[in-house]
């Protein structure tokens, strides 16, 4: 037997809230515009924040290695000071270490075929083993970087580098280079193009001595304990720090997002969005409640509890949140799509989307407090004088 759902099972509080909301369309539009403005602003700011956070750690995320040996006090991946190769040998002799590979980074001048120069950020590691290699290769191959004087560049920077594709040539430090691999989407938040090459070529392009490297990537032996090896290495090596990938990522992120103030600025923008949204929703909810004050007084007079009245107002706030968020999220996805190919893409993850919805609901419900306080101060006896 089919059991029919009772269409009247739901409280009228929702219906009343919905009717109150849609009764004054102009006010609804004003409220929704306020929420949309606020949430789009927050979406952009937080999307930039997460996008930036992701970009500043992208090299660490794509490096293979269980531990990083970095110069003591290095703030980020882009903050190199050369380490001596002796550290690599010392690390190789430690228990639990399977392999240690060097990574060389540094700025260099790229001379365009047509003349003129542009700065590039060179990254080099041993192309025949695990290390830090280009990813998202869309033309050529990583193996091709084993050929002397070859590099990999991202297609985003073709124009900046004056190249058109595979086989294009240019010069770095007066040494001829040929594009042997092309990647897609490896962009630098500093806007300086990344150039991947082999370890020895990177040393040559950046002027790094043959016995020096910026970092060493430690690959552990099977079943070796990361924490124990980290402690052993830290104890045996001097003037370096041994960090897990997660620790180095966090350090790099903290430096770029907070120590430089960039993240704080983005957070401030997001906070401003939340404040503006809360004030707009609070103001409109409050004035809507004032407009319906006789109805709330009548509700109170016929014996409704404070809880019931809270329900009506909070339903109104939640409806505002759902309508506002739906529109704001749609706009947000368009912005995400439009910035996907830019130097600093706005990131929208499922978690961020859920978080933004929760924030919208929180903002709208918080905004309802002023209205609730107003309603709870109503003297129900006012219905006799209205």
């Amino acid at each position: 037997m089919t059991v029919m759902a009772d269409p009247f099972a739901m409280s009228l509080a929702f219906k009343l809230a919905q009717r109150n909301l849609f009764h004054d369309r102009l006010r609804l539009v004003a409220t929704v515009v306020g929420i949309v403005f606020s949430i789009v602003l927050v979406t952009v700011q937080l999307g930039l924040y997460f996008g930036f956070g992701r970009m500043v750690t992208t090299m660490i995320d794509h490096a293979s290695g269980d531990l990083w040996i970095i110069p003591a006090g290095a703030k980020s991946f882009e903050d190199p000071s050369p380490l001596d190769e002796r550290n690599r040998f010392a690390a190789l002799s430690a228990n639990g270490v399977f392999d240690v590979t060097a990574v060389v980074i540094g700025f260099a001048e790229w001379r365009l075929p047509s003349g003129g120069t542009t700065p590039v950020f060179v990254i080099g590691s041993d192309v025949r083993g695990p290390g830090l290699h280009p990813w998202n290769v869309v033309a050529g191959s990583i193996d091709a970087l084993a050929i002397p004087n070859t590099v990999a560049v991202d297609q985003t920077y073709f124009e900046r580098l004056g190249v058109t594709g595979l086989g294009a040539t240019a010069e770095i430090r007066d040494q001829k280079v040929e594009v042997a691999a092309i990647t897609k989407g490896i962009r630098s938040f500093t806007t300086t193009p990344y150039v991947f090459t082999s370890l020895d070529r990177a040393r040559a392009y950046t002027g790094t001595a043959a016995n020096k490297a910026a970092f060493f990537l430690v690959h552990l032996a099977p079943k070796a304990n990361v924490g124990s090896v980290q402690k052993r290495l830290q104890a045996s090596l001097t003037d370096v720090e041994v960090l897990t990938q997660a620790e180095f990522r966090e350090r790099s992120r903290t430096f770029w997002l907070f120590d430089t103030g960039a993240g704080a600025a983005l957070f401030a923008g997001a906070l401003l969005g939340v404040i503006v949204g809360t004030v707009i929703v609070a103001q409109t909810l409050y004035s809507s409640t004032k407009d319906h004050i006789n109805e709330f007084a009548t509700l109170r007079a016929i014996g409704s509890s404070g809880r019931y009245i809270h329900q009506v107002i909070i339903w109104q706030a939640l409806l505002n949140a759902v309508i506002g968020f739906t529109i704001a999220a749609s706009i947000g996805f368009v912005i995400v799509d439009q910035t996907a190919e830019s130097a600093l893409p706005i990131v929208m993850t499922p978690a961020l989307t859920i978080g933004l919805f929760a924030l919208t609901v929180f903002m709208c419900v918080t905004s309802a407090f002023a209205a609730i306080i107003k309603v709870m101060r109503i003297d129900p006896a006012m219905v006799f004088t209205q």
Binding site: L12, K15, T298, I302, G303, S304, G306
Partner: protein
């Protein structure tokens, strides 16, 4: 007993009972003693009119009896429950459980249909679903508006709106129906119809109906008239058993001597 109050003896258990009620409104220079020792009880099965000039304390008394206010002094009992020291939520519960209101300007929700306006009184009591809808329809049928259940207040005449308000007041099986000038905004025909509905409700032996009014045309519907002036009850008039409504007797009580004066009511 306060010398300004008149105790009105009832033979049946009172639905609402006020004893020596004093109500002070405002404070400081703006302080007003709106009620100055009022005692009144409402018995089920009768319609009582509360009459008096503007500013006499009618609405304040209605508010106190209807648990919208607590008295400054004295006591109010609603179906045996005292309102003394009751907070706003306790007062709301007493209203919800025992009292139905009918207001001069109806106070219907413009965005809800007649049916939903009536359902609302059940909804605030936590009664939803088909059973609540059936009861709301029954209440609308009682006031003769079942055919208008989907109409919105703006689509109803004043009289019809007031009948919806009465349906809302009675749907929760309230023991006391308190009506504030229910005919003031209506023409004589609609006013008469509303009073007929209220009088019929008052015939229910479980319900008391109190109507605050200025309107002398509705006097014939009352079993009892209480007069209030300057915050004191100054007279009570009661229809004699078996007497026609159009010719009932009035008794005025002198608050100091307790003398009952009888006089004929004027016919409408």
């Amino acid at each position: 007993m306060n010398i300004h109050s008149i105790a009105i003896q009832e033979t049946t258990e009172a639905v609402l009972e006020a004893t020596d009620v004093v109500k002070v409104l405002g404070s400081g220079a703006g302080e007003v003693r709106a009620l100055k020792g009022v005692s009144l009880s409402l018995a089920p099965g009768e319609l009582t009119l509360l009459m008096g000039p503007s500013g006499s304390g009618k609405t304040t008394l209605l508010s106190v009896l209807g648990c919208m206010m607590t008295p400054t002094q004295g006591s109010v009992r609603v179906c045996g429950h005292s309102t003394k020291e009751a907070g706003p939520e306790e007062l709301a519960k007493l209203r919800r459980d025992h009292i139905g209101y009918v207001f001069q300007s109806y106070h219907l929700f413009p965005t809800l249909s007649a049916l939903d306006n009536v359902r609302l009184a059940l909804d605030v009591r936590g009664e939803h679903g088909r059973a609540a809808v059936a009861r709301a329809k029954e209440a609308l049928a009682t006031v003769g508006l079942l055919h208008k259940l989907r109409s919105y207040p703006r689509q109803l005449s004043g009289g019809e709106q007031q009948r919806v308000a009465i349906a809302r007041a009675i749907v929760g099986k309230a023991s006391a129906i308190l009506a504030d000038e229910p005919t003031a905004a209506l023409d004589s025909q609609n006013g008469h119809a509303i009073m007929e509905v209220l009088a019929r409700i008052a015939e229910d032996p479980t319900r008391a109906v109190l109507v605050v009014t200025h309107d002398p045309r509705i006097v014939p519907f009352a079993k009892r008239i209480v007069r209030i002036e300057d915050g004191r009850i100054v007279g009570e008039e009661r229809a004699q058993q078996g007497e026609e409504r159009s010719s009932v007797e009035e008794r005025d009580a002198d608050d100091e001597r307790g003398v009952v004066v009888k006089r004929k009511w004027m016919q409408r």
